[in-house]
């Protein structure tokens, strides 16, 4: 192998690793706050990517309708819970966030689809649609189970993943799609060629990580989210609603997923089921970070990206196998280093 190929592989690995880092961070966040292992994270990626690609191609994405349907479901849950004490204000607020909002977004989507929207509008619409899906999914599938064990939440998570994947096939068909580049153009530095898209990936990833860091370190809601992750009962005793933290976590996770999808769909063709594998690699990084450490997850994600790039060069048939095999030594080391911990029952 010569230096050029090596540099090219490193560049490729870092681009992918940046995406895995974002997904891994989202997984850690959601798990720490809600104890949900978010398998549908990959679907947020495909939904974001394919919604963006469909809009750019002037096709109506089914995800906008799904958001409205889930919103109606979420509203029904709110109504059911409030059935004994009907507070007009609470119900109005629920109707606005769960029904009016997705209805408006659906109308906008229909309007813009007809006239091939500019890239910025497609991105904004895709992000909002997937963010709403994430938020309503939490209300419908996870909030009612919030007090149950990690295992029950995992089963629900698998169920949501399968449902979303099936719906993805329905909405986008079995063919893969590509989207237009967010930033076109390229420049070369030495023997390396940087495309505008890969620079976008680096830029957005770094901006997002810095943004998250500021959010968790400086804002009251960011601190409240950390507090819920550290001590759920303690958080409730100062008046932080577990459901509020869960909503913020799911909102962030779905936005991160959709954004990752939008960033990679101009580089690789994505299918309705591609997200699972991408999400799983973020998951490998999150596991290496022990599902708690953000910096370790980010570093591990870069390693996953690099290992994937090099193994696709040396043994492309086995590239997934090699990436997932990273887990075995990590889990072995972790199980040796840490004493057995029983799941706490809060």
């Amino acid at each position: 192998m010569n230096t050029t190929i090596m540099l090219f592989l490193v560049q490729d690995g870092i681009t992918n690793g940046a995406i895995y880092a974002l997904l891994g961070l989202a997984l850690v966040l959601v798990f720490a706050v809600t104890r949900v292992i978010l398998i549908p994270q990959g679907e947020f990626v495909t939904y974001g990517a394919l919604t963006y690609a469909s809009l750019a191609a002037g096709q109506m994405p089914g995800t906008a309708k799904l958001a409205l349907a889930l919103g109606i479901g979420a509203f029904a849950f709110d109504l059911f819970v409030a059935r004994k004490a009907l507070h007009g204000r609470l119900i109005l607020r629920s109707a606005i966030t769960n029904i009016a909002l997705p209805a408006i977004v659906l109308a906008l989507t229909v309007y813009f689809t007809a006239q091939k929207p500019p890239v910025v509008v497609s991105i904004a619409l895709s992000l909002v649609i997937v963010a709403m899906i994430g938020l309503y999914l939490y209300r419908v599938a996870f909030q009612p189970l919030a007090h149950t064990s990690v295992l029950v939440l995992l089963i629900a998570s698998v169920g949501v993943h399968l449902a979303l994947q099936g719906l993805g096939l329905l909405f986008f068909g079995a063919e893969g799609q590509r989207g237009p580049a967010v930033l076109s153009g390229a420049f070369t530095a030495g023997s390396l060629r940087f495309t505008g898209q890969s620079l976008t990936v680096y830029g957005i990833t770094i901006a997002f990580i810095v943004g998250l860091w500021l959010f968790f370190g400086l804002t009251l809601y960011g601190k409240a989210l950390r507090a819920t992750a550290v001590n759920r009962l303690g958080a409730r005793l100062v008046g932080i609603r577990t459901t509020l933290s869960g909503q913020i976590a799911f909102l962030l996770a779905s936005v991160i997923g959709a954004l990752s999808g939008i960033m990679i769909v101009p580089i690789t063709t994505l299918y309705y089921d591609s997200g699972f594998l991408i999400g799983l690699k973020g998951f490998v990084a999150a596991i290496i970070g022990g599902l708690v450490s953000y910096p370790l997850t980010a570093v591990a994600a870069l390693v996953v990206g690099l290992v994937e790039a090099f193994s696709s060069f040396y043994a492309s048939n086995y590239k997934e196998v090699i990436v997932f095999m990273l887990l075995i030594p990590v889990l072995l080391l972790r199980s040796l280093a840490a004493p057995a911990v029983e799941e706490d029952k809060d």
Binding site: A85, L220, K223, A227, N231, L233, G234, A235, R236, V238
Partner: protein, 243 residues
């Protein structure tokens, strides 16, 4: 005048086992009320049920409002605070962040003044404000837990075994602060195994045995009661532990 907190005929059960049976209690404004009793009498269980961690059968009202349908978070927002036995601090966050989160449900503009008041009450916390809560000593953690609860401007603070495992000098400090709280208009419901110290500062007292109140009345009368003296105060002398 109606009581600030009123519990009547409360039952709390873990599955089929009733840990608290037919308990009634009242805490008035500007009052320190203590519940004393042996380990396992059901004191912590009762406090957990009042704040909403455990389901309670019976009636609980706070500031004239029935609490039955309210979540923990709503009860906290109404001005009912609990400092639990295990403190439940945010151990990976610093002292200041812990306090700031204590004021999550009150206006941001008031939080600043609230923090100054807490620092005035616990100067030690101000010295340690950038230190992680998990690295504090036991006494400091207890102060932080109380400070965090006070940040929410509670009308009634429930303290669960605040003296447990702490050095006598710190215990004295904490009891002094409890009396200061009453002076500043915060009522306190104090659960203690250290009956002697608790009865000394309390206005009203309840004695709990096996999930039921067996005695209640003025704290000074309870302290003078022979049976209480024999089983809870023992041959304790001031400044010495029982054993």
């Amino acid at each position: 005048m109606s009581a600030l907190l009123s519990v009547s005929d409360a039952h709390v059960a873990y599955g089929k086992v009733e840990a608290v049976r037919s308990v009634s209690l009242e805490v008035g404004a500007n009052e320190i009320v203590t519940i004393v009793g042996a380990n396992g009498a059901g004191k912590t269980t009762l406090l957990s049920a009042i704040i909403g961690i455990l389901p309670l059968r019976g009636r609980v009202s706070f500031a004239g409002q029935d609490l039955a349908r309210l979540d923990i978070e709503d009860r906290v927002a109404m001005g009912l605070g609990l400092v639990p036995e295990h403190r439940e601090l945010f151990v990976t966050m610093n002292v200041e962040d812990n306090l700031e989160l204590g004021a999550f449900r009150i206006e941001r503009s008031k939080a600043k003044a609230s923090m100054e008041r807490v620092y005035a009450l616990f100067p030690r916390l101000k010295e340690r404000r950038k230190q992680l809560a998990g690295t504090l000593s036991g006494g400091e953690q207890q102060m932080l837990a109380m400070g965090r609860a006070l940040m929410g401007e509670p009308k009634l603070l429930m303290l669960d075994e605040p003296s447990l495992g702490l050095a006598p000098i710190i215990v004295a400090d904490i009891f002094r602060i409890v009396t200061e709280l009453r002076a500043s208009g915060v009522s306190v419901l104090l659960v203690e195994q250290n009956a002697q110290a608790a009865l000394k500062i309390a206005d009203q007292a309840y004695v709990m045995e096996l999930g039921e109140f067996v005695l209640s009345g003025k704290a000074s009368d309870i302290a003078a009661n022979e049976r209480v003296a024999a089983s809870y105060l023992g041959f304790q002398h001031e400044g010495e532990s029982a054993i």
